[in-house]
Amino acid sequence: MDSKQAKQWMQKTAIRMEAEKDELSALDQALGDGDHGVNMARGFRAVEESLDEWDELSLSQLMQKLGSTLVSKVGGAAGPLYGTAFMRLGAAWKDVHQVDGEAWMSGMAKAVEGIAQRGKTQAGEGTLLDVWSPVAATFTASEPDWKKIEAEAKKGMEATEDMVVKKGRGALLGEKSVGHLDPGAVSSYYLFQELANLMKAGE
């Protein structure tokens, strides 16, 4: 992935979050406070509106900007989590202009670490980490298998339905949180699905 593709990814994701806004919020109504779709759509709309301004930026700078914009505009819990993840990617890709398998692997490991720290969480607690974590683990030093990555993201997202949520508002429901997809996991799946589609098209 180069910076042009990164910007396409942001654009596609912005469109996707807007399209899925109501569905994501409805999922959040079951487990949380019903605003996850609105938050993500607002955040990525701000990203989209900044893309022209960010034209000259390096891939690393782009990820930093993406992260800080999401922190600022998504707000809530998802903002600092998505934000931290992308800021970690930005830091990991300091001198990277074209992300290859290795860069994905090391960068995503840092991103997952960032989410875990920020959220004081680990995989299996019914959060967006349950998508990010298997996705990160799928990258290898060789060319990314985008089909597999999408499939892992989907599996991770679906797995949250059976989990007792341990972090975030859903945790208040205890056992009653079982039976619901985690909204942050679903939005993360859309993010990686857009990435996979884009990268597959470019292959």
């Binding site: 707000g75 903002g79 600092p80």
Partner: protein, 322 residues
């Protein structure tokens, strides 16, 4: 759902503008942010910052002023403001003695404040955080939400900071206050978000929702609607076991947004009648709301001499003056 508003997407900006326009002698808005601060700060005083999602008015901007907060950060409705906004508030509130951020125990708020702390630290500003978790409806203290008891913590902490106490002293008092304040709420109706057409949950005409938070989330328990006296009993039974025996109390009866003052006073009467304790202060009104929800929360604060002194101290904010 009918609301007095223009574009629901801009409701937070519009209400902050209204607040500042109506109270320009007291408040200002940091340009380009949703941060409301005092018009003038006290040099060398520990800065007290709070904030969180909007929809809880008068919390928190209504409590900015002498004797309480230096700055309040307003997020989108029910959504924690981003770390950048908390940072701006911390920067403004820092008068050389550091800043204490009082945050309600929600994941999003805590994470954003932690990020802001890290950023402030990088600029050489010391920012401490105290997390308020007064809601006994939740068993696990880790998960306990911050609800109306928050404003009592803000009041006492702000008063103490005004005396020139150090950051570590102010933090100690805030933590003590947190350890001695407990609350619980009941909803008679759900609330409706400005940008959303449906209520946050469905509640039948003869039902009430027990142990709700302040974000329109469903409560711990749903049961047949009860009388004011019965609701007082129910909330007292949950709260009292966690309040040190013998300590004099402050009582806060808080309306959730659309419950009339008459009803709140009826409820206060039932609480006071059933509470066989030394009550030194009773506050009745809307202190921490949940948009247009009908319902009430009860907060008990176990006083000691230090807390009592700072609860009684003068305060000059838009919403709380004494």
């Amino acid at each position: 759902m009918k609301k007095l508003m223009n574009d629901p997407e801009n409701i937070v900006t519009a209400f902050l503008d209204g607040l500042v326009a109506a109270n320009g002698e007291r408040l200002q808005r940091l340009e380009g942010t949703d941060v409301i601060t005092r018009r003038s700060f006290k040099p060398q005083k520990v800065g007290i910052v709070s904030g969180g999602g909007s929809g809880h008015e008068p919390a928190h901007a209504g409590y900015v002023g002498e004797g309480m907060l230096d700055a309040a950060v307003a997020g989108e409705v029910f959504t924690s403001p981003g770390a950048d906004q908390f940072l701006a508030a911390i920067q403004a509130a820092d008068q050389g003695a550091g800043v204490l951020v009082l945050v309600k125990n929600y994941n999003g708020d805590v994470m954003n404040v932690e990020m802001a702390q890290e950023m402030a630290e990088a600029e050489g500003i010391t920012a401490e955080m105290v997390i308020i978790n007064d809601d006994v409806a939740v068993d696990d203290p880790e998960q306990r939400r911050g609800i109306a008891g928050t404003v009592l913590v803000q009041k006492m902490t702000g008063a103490f900071a005004e005396t020139g106490a150090s950051l570590s002293e102010v933090k100690r008092l805030a933590e003590k206050a947190v350890s001695r304040v407990r609350s619980m709420s009941v909803a008679l109706t759900p609330c409706t978000l400005p940008a959303v057409d449906q209520p946050s949950f469905d509640l039948a005409e003869e039902e009430m929702e027990v142990g709700i938070g302040i974000h329109g989330e469903r409560g711990m328990d749903r049961r047949e609607v009860a009388s004011s006296a019965e609701i007082a009993r129910l909330l007292l039974d949950h709260i009292l076991p966690e309040i040190p025996q013998g300590a004099p109390l402050a009582v806060l009866v808080n309306g959730m947004g659309s419950t009339s003052l008459m009803e709140l006073q009826v409820f206060a009467n039932d609480v006071i009648e059933q509470l066989d304790r030394d009550i030194q202060h009773t506050f009745v009104g809307e202190y921490m709301t949940s948009l247009d929800m009908a319902g009430v929360s009860l907060t008990l604060l176990a006083l000691d001499d230090e807390l009592a002194e700072h609860l009684q101290a003068p305060v000059k904010t838009v919403q709380w003056k004494q």
